[in-house]
């Protein structure tokens, strides 16, 4: 699962570069430019991804001040 979460983080960084909406002037809900709406959704997706990270990649037994690393990290 940790691998999936880190893959989601990388995916977020990739889909952040949305050249496909670059010149699109559509207004979502009649008022919000789609380029802005899309990136607001990226912010929400980032929170969801980080929520998954805290569930599945959280460093084990770290509360005593041990310097553990996130599971799946490079340490």
């Amino acid at each position: 699962m940790a691998t999936v979460v880190w893959a989601l983080v990388v995916l977020l960084m990739v889909v952040h570069q949305d050249f496909w909406f670059w010149e699109n002037d559509y207004l979502v809900f009649g008022f919000m430019p789609i380029g802005l709406f899309y990136h607001a959704c990226i912010s929400i997706a980032a929170s969801v991804t980080w929520f998954l990270a805290t569930k599945h990649c959280w460093p084990a037994a770290d509360d005593a001040g041990e310097a553990a690393s996130p599971e799946g990290g490079a340490a």
């Binding site: 960084m13 009649g30 607001a40 929170s47 770290d62 690393s69």
Partner: protein, 545 residues
């Protein structure tokens, strides 16, 4: 005058909060500098968020959207949502663990131990302080400009009508500016220098008495204030500007009115947008954020900030960006002085569209965003001077009491120096914002390698810092040269690396080359020089199980 009373009441409330936090002070230097590692998830979220959202978040985002369109959200906000939480998760938790285990209070203490080098502290110290000071100046100058802006009278036929203070209330050198009272002077508002002094004084008081605990509480309070008032500002401005019956109808009318180029990113360079993703890496090396990380009660306290930070950014930034692009429409006439200096767009809209009571509260919200960064920066500089210079090199046996006295003394000194520097009115200081962030970002490879690569050596670290600062200095000097040639600070703000590509050019943010140079220097030199001792490596890379 109503706005001024509300702002004064708000500042008074902050002072009370700082004094109350001071009553809970445990009298130790650890409590003063890192709140005895006692901050729980909610306070940590609010203080981290409040610290990373500077004046730029409310005032700058609206102004940037007015200039560049909706693309600024993706460039600055959604990228930060991903990268900031990544830094909290990958760097913050580990650094907190080492800080708690080995008693660190500053980044330099960590790097000194990890690299077995006293010299790295002496190299890093001026670099970190040099990058924080312009960042502080932005806050001090912005606070003066905001308070002055909302308390000014109305200009009519070269005269000032309904001023908060009649001409002659303050000494003429404070009221008149270089071109006169009604041109670039105080225009009947609180003079900028006076407002900045009061803001510095309030922040100094609660940092002085409350230390890190007072700072964290004040940050949490101020973050609530600016988030709530930001949303209120948005709805008030939407309802006033739209001219329709319902809130939704107003939003639709305003959306329709946005000019095409501001609704899209047709005028924005895609490669510049992509390379901007490296700028938020700066949070990994912000000394004031490092100190906030150390305040956490447990590693679990990081969970809420990691998850909520991107959504909090969205709550603050989306309304500000929409207001900025609405202001480009024909529904509002933005006067040339505001058009020329978009950083005053939000205070201008608040003043024009909100009544004096709401205007006062909204101004308090803007000040809250500014002060919630200033306090942490003042405290971290005081802590660094005390721990990394005086205690390390001059008073190694300083008692707890002496350390607190030293930190407080340095904080007073830093506030005075910053305020005096702000009186010089550096014209291009706002343009320096992104350069400060880029400088911190270019040090990101160092902190990442220190935590995750056993092969990092002290010489690799020196090479990385020198490469980062060398490239930063080279590009900055080039930008300043172009700015002098152009006769305005614009080129400092808009500087990019233009790389020929086919028949056109690829625009990249200079941070791309800085991070690359820093990373390459770090790896190459580390591979060629001796590693730290096994004892040190075992300390920072314990074998699991």
């Amino acid at each position: 005058m109503t706005q001024l009373w509300i702002i004064s009441g708000y500042l008074g409330l902050l002072l009370l909060l700082g004094l109350f936090a001071g009553r809970l002070f445990r009298g130790t230097s650890s409590d003063y500098m890192v709140a005895s590692h006692s901050i729980g998830p909610f306070l940590l979220l609010m203080s981290l968020f409040g610290t990373t959202m500077t004046a730029f978040a409310l005032v700058g985002s609206t102004g940037e959207a007015f200039k560049e369109g909706i693309g600024v959200y993706g460039m600055l906000a959604s990228s930060s949502g991903i990268i900031h939480s990544l830094c909290f998760f990958v760097l913050g938790i580990k650094l907190w663990g080492f800080g708690k285990k080995y008693g660190y209070r500053t980044q330099i203490e960590f790097f000194r131990d990890r690299l077995e080098s006293t010299g790295i502290g002496l190299v890093l110290f001026p670099v970190l302080v040099g990058l924080v000071i312009p960042y502080l100046l932005i806050g001090v100058l912005a606070s003066g400009a905001v308070v002055n802006g909302v308390t000014q009278g109305k200009l009519a036929g070269g005269a000032v009508e309904n001023p908060t203070f009649e001409q002659g209330t303050f000494p003429s050198f404070l009221e008149d500016g270089s071109k006169g009272f009604a041109v670039d002077g105080s225009k009947g508002g609180v003079p900028r220098e006076v407002a900045s002094l009061v803001i510095c004084g309030v922040v100094l008081c609660y940092v002085f008495f409350g230390g890190m605990r007072g700072t964290a509480w004040a940050n949490a309070f101020q973050t609530c204030v600016f988030m709530v008032l930001g949303v209120v500002t948005f709805s008030v401005i939407a309802n006033k500007l739209g001219g329709q019956e319902s809130f939704y109808a107003n939003l639709c009318a305003l959306g329709d009115a946005i000019p095409e180029e501001y609704k899209t990113r047709s005028e924005m360079s895609f490669t510049k947008f992509v390379s901007y993703m490296l700028v938020p890496l700066s949070v990994g090396m912000f000394p004031h954020l490092f100190q906030h990380w150390l305040t956490a009660k447990s590693a679990g306290s990081f969970k809420l900030p990691v998850v909520a930070h991107p959504v909090f950014i969205m709550i603050v930034w989306v309304p500000c960006v929409l207001i900025g692009v609405w202001a480009t429409s024909e529904l509002i006439n933005v006067p040339p002085p505001v058009e020329k200096n978009p950083n005053i767009l939000l205070p201008f809209l608040v003043k024009r569209l909100a009544g004096p009571v709401l205007g006062g509260f909204l101004t308090a919200g803007i000040l809250a965003a500014i002060m919630s960064s200033l306090d942490s920066q003042f405290l971290c500089l005081g802590t660094m001077f005390t721990n990394d210079i005086v205690k390390r090199h001059f008073l190694p046996n300083a008692t707890d009491r002496q350390q607190i006295a030293l930190a407080r003394g340095f904080i007073i000194g830093i506030v005075i120096v910053t305020y005096l520097l702000s009186l010089l009115k550096p014209a291009s200081v706002f343009a320096l914002g992104v350069w400060c962030f880029s400088g911190f970002s270019s040090l990101f490879p160092l902190v990442l390698a220190a935590l995750y690569w056993r092969g990092l050596t002290k010489f690799g670290a020196y090479a990385s810092v020198l490469a980062a600062i060398g490239t930063w200095g080279y590009f900055f000097a080039d930008a300043v040269g172009r700015s002098i040639k152009a006769g305005n600070p614009g080129p400092i703000r808009t500087y990019t690396l233009d790389i020929p590509w086919g028949e056109g050019t690829v625009e990249l943010m200079p941070v791309t080359a800085m991070v690359a140079a820093s990373a390459v220097a770090l790896v190459v030199v580390s591979l060629a020089t001796p590693k730290p001792s096994d004892e040190t490596l075992a300390k920072f890379f314990p074998v699991k199980g």
